[in-house]
Symmetry: C2
Subunit: 398 residues, 2 copies
């Protein structure tokens, strides 16, 4: 959602889709910059604004959008009606600013659509059991859309309109040879989203996977097909590495010379969890004399709080932080059956002289934490090293 | 509600009131200019935006304010919690953009206040039976506040913070000798509000009168006592004329040579009512041969629609409109027992050479429609002619 011009364009697009005979339920996000503008107001009044009030505040962004899209649709002769979270009982837990959807009532939406009135639903917002306004975190409108598609029943597709053409093998801004992926599995998309590819909110992919919602990620600015996110068996042929992604929003925290006992480590991560801080990578380097260096990464916005938590728990230890790092990852279902993928990744980085600060792996991805200055170089060399680029032999045949 | 600075000032004021031992429930309106900004967005997309969607749109202004005031209160150590219309079940009819309050549940507000958490309620907004967002019309936050005070029980006072010091005998911008009124009756306030004194929404005065809510209209910018709006018997001494007010938002419509039959007149006002157009003054000048000139005034925003309605109903009649008019009125409970008030008014206008285009009266007011260019002159000469100014003999002894 950009300016009023964008809202008019969205209305035109909805009208076209509808004129092709589709019944449409629309979910909209806030206008460009609006969420940040609202957050800035809240943060101008308090360094730690109450999350409940922040949610009441930022949820207005989507409320403005739904009303404007409904008005724009009506103006071009398409009956439309806005719906807010409390009007469709889009229920979430009470985890303000990052609530999880528990359920949504689609009867009113279906009834409206059947009567030829396009329902325009506010994304990103929900209500908890007490009726408090909640929000779903950045990109939460994707999740609203997928959750509604899932609630509508098996096989209802969900189109996500965004400012890019689809999901790419790497960020095209970093890597000129990056290629749009036609079809990708939920599992791969989940890893890509978790690893910093901002095209879809992670939670939306989880829900899509759980309920087999076919998701089409495409550009609001063109009619081109984008990327379909589908079940693994529908992704035709799996390749070793589907894409490279990177994330500059993490920071590294290291505690030196910690006693190497499991209870000590547990205490630390319990304290962080209690402070609602998500930890991503965790690396433990055992050293001599039963002591260990513990390194982990958290979101940059949580770094200050994480450091405080650790300092309170461990007043006599050396705790250091580093912010100028980037996490670069490769993702691919094929890793499950191909060995040597991680080794190849480390070789590519070594050949470029890029030092690795931490490594984590899962069944279908490998992530490396690198000094931030190697960001572009690492993405490009990995992308081309695995043959993901246009015209390269590793290209998928979708 | 002005800028963030204003929000901080409001929070300080609430904190002071609370530290004086009062339990406080706060109702807030949108930040200055916000409602107009939102309306402009809606009107940019459509010349006749859907009232339901406009309400969903503009209600966000108050939602932003309540969250920000709650955050500002918390920041200075006052526990606070925002409430939206659907969270306190502030129910209205479905008359979008000018809905009437049907009821409000105050349990959650009382419970919150008892627990030391200041409830901050979004003014201006409501929900109808279907859960649609509604709004109460300009100044609707006054009405929200009075309705909540009324629901809290007998004698709970309602303070209305505004940008003026209280209710004046005339608009101080027009009339330099205008004086602040200390106490005024609901009846007089109702007429003043109806006649264009913008200090309180009419509906708020109606509810205050019905439930005997003492209303204190005062400045957000000073600690001075403002004007108390109270029952007639509490207004101590009634004077002939309490104040002079004027309204430039009306326009005049004249239909010439209409058949002078009651059914004809009824048809016209039925058609206008059906189009939801409020008619204010109605003047009928019988002429010879059973025909009559009918003049009435409507809000300027409704003039175009009113003219269309009349032209459709009366295609062969001469219909003229005039926009450069002002309605100047005097209000006072004393008129009920004093004769000659209207005569004195007409004499004052005649002495200044001001022509009168239409006259209407009620038990406690007289209104004259005048050419707009005489606005200031009329208000000043009437105000001083009735001895309402500072140091004049007609001054009330409150």
């Amino acid at each position: 959602m950009g300016s009023l011009e964008r809202i008019r364009a969205v209305a035109q697009r909805i009208a076209r889709t509808r004129s092709q005979g589709h019944e449409v339920i629309v979910v909209v996000s806030a206008m460009a910059g609006e969420t940040n503008r609202l957050l800035a107001l809240g943060h101008a009044l308090s360094s730690r604004p109450d999350p409940r009030e922040l949610d009441a505040l930022v949820a207005t962004g989507e409320q403005v959008s739904v009303a404007l899209v409904a008005i724009a649709l009506q103006e071009i002769g398409v009956p439309a009606r806005s719906f807010l979270a409390h009007q469709v009982r889009l229920r979430t837990d009470s985890n303000f600013t990052k609530a999880r959807i528990l359920g949504v009532d689609t009867e009113r939406l279906i009834e409206s659509a059947r009567n030829g009135v396009v329902p325009v639903v506010a994304g990103f917002q929900g209500i908890d059991e007490e009726g408090n306004t909640t929000t779903l975190g950045r990109g939460g409108s994707d999740t609203t859309a997928v959750a509604i598609a899932a609630a509508l029943g098996q096989g209802v597709p969900c189109e996500i309109y965004t400012d890019v053409e689809g999901v790419f093998t790497a960020d095209p801004n970093l890597c000129p040879t990056a290629r749009k992926i036609s079809r990708i599995s939920y599992e791969e998309m989940l890893e890509l989203a978790s690893l910093g590819a901002k095209v879809l909110q992670i939670r939306s992919v989880e829900i899509a996977m759980k309920y087999s919602v076919p998701v089409h990620v495409r550009s609001s600015f063109s009619e081109n097909e984008g990327t379909w996110v589908v079940r693994e068996e529908e992704a035709l042929e799996s390749v070793v590495v589907a894409g490279v992604t990177s994330d500059t929003n993490e920071a590294k925290l290291t505690i030196r010379q910690l006693e190497n006992r499991p209870s000590r480590i547990a205490e630390i991560f319990e304290a962080l969890a209690e402070a609602k801080i998500s930890v991503d990578m965790i690396v433990q380097n055992p050293s001599v004399d039963g002591r260990t260096d513990l390194t982990f990464t958290v979101s940059k916005v949580d770094l200050h709080k994480a450091k405080e938590v650790c300092e309170r728990l461990l007043p006599h230890y050396e705790i250091s932080v580093r912010e100028d790092v980037v996490k670069v990852s490769i993702v691919g279902l094929g890793m499950r059956s191909h060995s040597g993928v991680a080794a190849k990744l480390f070789r590519i980085l070594a050949d470029e002289g890029i030092p690795i600060e931490a490594i984590t792996t899962s069944e279908i991805k490998v992530s490396c934490l690198l000094p931030a200055k190697y960001h572009e170089l690492a993405v490009r060399s990995i992308h081309d090293g695995f043959g993901l680029g246009r015209g390269q032999t590793g290209e998928r045949n979708f």
